[in-house]
């Protein structure tokens, strides 16, 4: 079925291009040959790799800083009520709005898109981790204390595993955002990657076949990333958080 739906979409696309006699928008076949051209020039895999590398570094930083921050905010209600207004205000600001500042601080360098990806991924991770901690049933904490666990042990052995399903959801959402942001960030700050491919193909000769090729690559890679993130939710020690209990 999904294959059929994708085939239908391609068919409609091909039909639309033919019927409108457009000279600007490429047909599916032209996009495929565009992809072949990119692969032939050796930039296809380099651009994909560069984009993924940027996402990985910004996302990893957000994960390493975001999870402890979220756990701390979820565990200490006072800390949460102090920082929540700041977080809630920073959250709706699109990472793209930070672009001028990112360039000002980091220049036209790898750090600028990395910073934007970090910003995009950081807040969803923090919010998911802190919500996850706050919704840990009191019974689990009581049981953990009853067995004589110190607070660090309680955090590691009860609070974190109990919050993990929610944290994983946050990580998956953050990965999607990180991928969105890298493409936009590459349109300004760097000269490689899939975002750069799109903006460069348009500016240098209006190669709309390559523009659409870039878009499709972004979509396909985003899909794969999401599927990989969903795989984590199937792990046995977190699966309980993702299905209604049947008992």
């Amino acid at each position: 079925m999904p294959v059929g739906a994708a085939a239908l979409a391609v068919l409609l696309w091909a039909l639309a291009v033919r019927l409108t006699h457009t000279t600007v928008f490429p047909s599916p076949l032209k996009v495929v040959s565009g992809l072949q051209e990119l692969a032939g020039r050796g930039v296809l895999w380099r651009y994909v790799g560069d984009s993924l590398r940027r996402v990985a570094s910004g996302y990893f930083l957000a994960l390493v800083l975001g999870i402890p921050t979220g756990l701390a905010l979820g565990w200490h209600p006072n800390l949460a009520s102090a920082f929540n207004p700041v977080i809630q205000m920073a959250r709706p600001i699109s990472p793209l709005a930070w672009m001028p500042l990112a360039i000002l601080w980091f220049g036209v360098s790898e750090a600028a898109p990395g910073f934007l990806i970090f910003l995009g991924a950081f807040f969803p991770i923090v919010v998911a981790a802190s919500n996850g901690v706050r919704s840990v049933p009191a019974m689990y904490l009581q049981a953990g204390r009853n067995f004589g666990l110190s607070t660090p042990r309680l955090l590691a052995r009860v609070v974190f595993p109990a919050a993990l399903p929610q944290i994983l959801v946050g990580l998956r959402i953050a990965l999607g955002i990180a991928w969105l942001v890298v493409v936009a960030a590459e349109m300004i700050a760097v000269d490689s990657g899939l975002g750069y491919l799109i903006i460069d193909s348009r500016n240098a000769g209006k190669r709309y076949d390559l523009v659409v090729a870039g878009m499709l690559l972004i979509g396909a890679i985003g899909l794969v990333l999401d599927l990989l993130a969903r795989r984590l939710e199937k792990l046995r020690s977190v699966r309980w958080g993702f299905q209604a209990e049947t008992a």
Binding site: N146, F147, S237, E245
Partner: protein, 252 residues
Amino acid sequence: MTPSPKVNIRSLSMLFPTDGSVIEVLSSIDLEVEDGELVCILGPSGCGKSTLLNVVGGFLKASAGTVLIDGQEVAGPDPRRIFVFQERGVFPWLTVEGNVGFGLFRLDARERAERIAHYVKLVGLSGFENAYPQELSGGMKQRLEVARALAVNPDVLFLDEPFGALDSITRLIMRSELLRIRRAEKKTVLFVTHDIDESVQLADRVVVMSTRPATIRRIVDIDMPHPRDLSAPRYIELRDLLLEEIGLAHKI
């Protein structure tokens, strides 16, 4: 010298402030529980019997009065006294083995494995060592939680309506399981329930609580040896006595 009671509750009161007023939940409770005794605390829903158990367990601080266990005032939760909830208290991210071994972090690996194996077998979960709680039935989860509690070798178990969420057949099976396990591991048990039959089937003594603010109306000795015959005249007599004490008619 007579041995001092295992659990000694003295003029215990509990007040909960609500907006504007103060609600008295427990009112000067006095109770002594002997070592190895199984005492059921029986009362209507919402009477404060769970609150009493939480205070004795060290999870709530009493407004007045004291709780002594082995002559020492209870200051907080303690692994020597384990609280068993309804089966929802098992950790869903751990396997059966992981749950049973949860409190055994101070032991070395070999001793831990032995204890786990012993208690998994005792509660009849052999073959399910690597199963996760979501793959178990309600009754099996309840056994698992009991095994997790017993594994740390506590002297007192607090059971707060442990079988309340189970269907009536499973509940009956679990009661005889509890009695069987208790023969193997002699523990002092405080068992909160609102089920009159349950209390007559399990307890050495039944403490009947009043409605809020909860006081002890009466303590009834269940002078029947195990296994108890559920249609014996004495069983019916004791059940009717408790029914009356709780203020319910014999007919429906």
